[in-house]
Subunit: 219 residues, 2 copies
């Protein structure tokens, strides 16, 4: 299935031409993002928590501590809405009204289940690590039993999702194109700065190759 | 009042030492952010929408179209939770378990009201513009009556809020410091790339000074 089905819940209503239900497009947004915002309802009140995530196949994983209120609530079957937003730039029009942003935004709806299987849990933690910095997992001290036990991994099956995307130049009113006002796009990017070694890092340890590669890719 | 009161709703529970209720700290996060995520409940289901915002005094404004479902729902008194997250860097520990992120995150709870007063509405739209690119408002064609009428501005009084902040190096288990694994922080920043002029922009219009200044500040 390459298209998500869209119900009233996930249908993009405002500026529907920017809406999209294509699995490949949505997964590309998820794979490029670093954090998501998870919302849930507790006693009728909406809550949001920003957290790291990773997509693997048709599932989205988040993780947290055993003591985390949200993790437990979601495991009990609470509905969740998850949003990943990539901000690509400011769109500067000639009129204040037509100023906008270029963005790619994915919104998912679903329920979560705790990953009980030990191998799937380790696999998910490795996917997290590889999503953030490819190559890091093989370099670090991997989780021991105590750490695995203290960590909850939640899996959302991505059943319903939509994306909303804006790209390209500003769209001004016809008569405003005659105005002497600069218009165009200021692109944005999340870039990595110079790594800051831990102050107690042994001096003999250089920056590993996979990390230099990651940082170059984020310049 | 320089501290927000904190109830069960806004109290930071996980890693409480990272929690903070100081108005100045929270406002600084809001003033640095570009987009927020707004969550609300409709028929028991949580929804999230990413959107632009601006803080002015003790209020937070968002805006949208008259036809926007969320804008109308919030104006009818629905509870909202608003999150602004600044991602400052990856924290690379020697163990997979102690990997983390440096971040500054603010979460607000409140209800919204439509701004009916014409002058306050124009003031809020100007604040938006100045929040994004200082100096832009005085350069552009400001909203006419038709545009003002098509725009809803919602005002949230910031009554209850909290921040959660992580800074600094990784915190590894004592015995892991002996391992030959690179550890430290990779800082992140949202940077602006080269501006892309609208393809139909008159050639005689150079990049204005305030915009060059903005872009330099985001290098």
């Amino acid at each position: 299935m390459t298209q998500f089905s869209s119900t009233e819940k996930s249908k993009v209503k405002r500026l529907a031409k920017r809406g999209c239900y294509d699995r490949e497009t949505i997964y590309k947004i998820l794979d490029e993002g670093i954090i998501c915002h998870v919302s849930f309802v507790l006693n009728g009140q909406p809550f949001i928590i920003p957290t790291a995530y990773v997509r693997a196949g048709d599932d989205l994983y988040i993780h947290g501590s055993k003591a985390n209120r949200m993790m437990n609530l979601l495991n009990e079957g609470a509905d969740a809405c998850i949003s990943v937003t990539l901000m690509d730039g400011y769109v500067l029009a000639r009129s204040a009204f037509h100023h906008s942003m270029n963005y790619r935004s994915a919104v998912l709806f679903g329920k979560a289940k705790i990953v009980e299987d030990r191998n799937e849990k380790i696999m998910a933690l490795k996917e997290f690590s590889e999503h953030f910095i490819p190559g890091r997992w093989d370099d670090v001290r991997t989780p021991n039993d105590k750490e695995l036990d203290a960590t909850i991994v939640l899996k959302f099956s991505i059943d319903e999702a939509s994306a909303k995307i804006r790209t390209g130049p500003p769209a001004d009113d016809k008569e405003d194109y005659a105005l002497d006002i600069w218009a165009g796009v200021i692109p944005f990017k999340i870039t990595a700065g110079e790594p800051v070694p831990d102050s107690v890092l042994k001096e003999s340890i250089p920056i590993p190759g996979y990390l230099s590669k990651f940082i170059s890719g984020r310049k």
